[in-house]
Symmetry: C2
Subunit: 157 residues, 2 copies
Amino acid sequence: MRDTGQVTTSTDTSVEVLTTELRRRGERVTTARLAVAEVLAGTEEHLSAEQIALRAEELRPGIHRATVYRALDALGELGLVTHVHLGKAGTTYHLAGELAQEHQEHLHVRCTECGAVLDVDGKTLDPVRRKLQRDLGFRLDPEHVALLGICQDCSAS
Amino acid sequence: MRDTGQVTTSTDTSVEVLTTELRRRGERVTTARLAVAEVLAGTEEHLSAEQIALRAEELRPGIHRATVYRALDALGELGLVTHVHLGKAGTTYHLAGELAQEHQEHLHVRCTECGAVLDVDGKTLDPVRRKLQRDLGFRLDPEHVALLGICQDCSAS
DNA sequence: CTGCTTGCAAAGTGTTTGCAGGCCC
DNA sequence: GGGCCTGCAAACACTTTGCAAGCAG
């Protein structure tokens, strides 16, 4: 499949919203930040900082890895970008809920055997969240870490 | 409080069981592995590899960091030692369930604001575990990662 | 003795930081 | 034009690995 660039994609929309949001908060809209935003808006995958840097480099050559980290950090502070810790497998980033178009809220579950990452209904941890809130006053962020275990295929073998 | 060394502590028991288990499986019982085991048996804290290395060095000077990693890995393979991923805060190790004396099964919850780690009843994720098993055939390891969120104190401020 | 384990040093990852110059607003 | 952001390089924290010597069984 080839992107003809002829249609207004949801990618454009996300980046537009993000731009507006940056301006509204007095933050600077820079080439590097836009590139990172475009990369994130242009995929449904879970990307590592490294992968984002590579793709950003394709969009706008010359963007440095350190800048990508700083951009992700800045956008994270503003709540526009979120990350998920995958245990030993590192960290992945994606646009925050409101900005992500195709995706609905979900959490991640990773197989420690084969590395596969599965998506699970975002409400799966709601009862746990309520329990922690009630018992400890702890406000759980259900999507911040991937749960670990063994997937069906790996259990079988 | 001072350890007079006059009583048989649960630490001794844990190390003893671990030793037996190693022998039973044809694995070698070495100074380094014993030191690591003693460190883990001697505390209820969650220790990083670095901390374990430091304490092991006190017990038996000359134990190298790399050896600690290898020992933790070996004991982990055998199911005698477990680790918990704390997100950005790294990884901590402890004796596996049967060997840990004082502790009962529990999961960890970490505040991303202040870093505090709270213990939660190990059965908290049981419903989730059953759901994942049923829906996806995924066997959840509830204690392998710490859940993240904001603790009561940090919510208040 | 046989070969698994260790110590050491070095190389890998993944991420952060100090600094000088550049670009956004 | 002022100051935030970037590129670069170096530093960092954490973990892994190749190798020769050492010790467990």
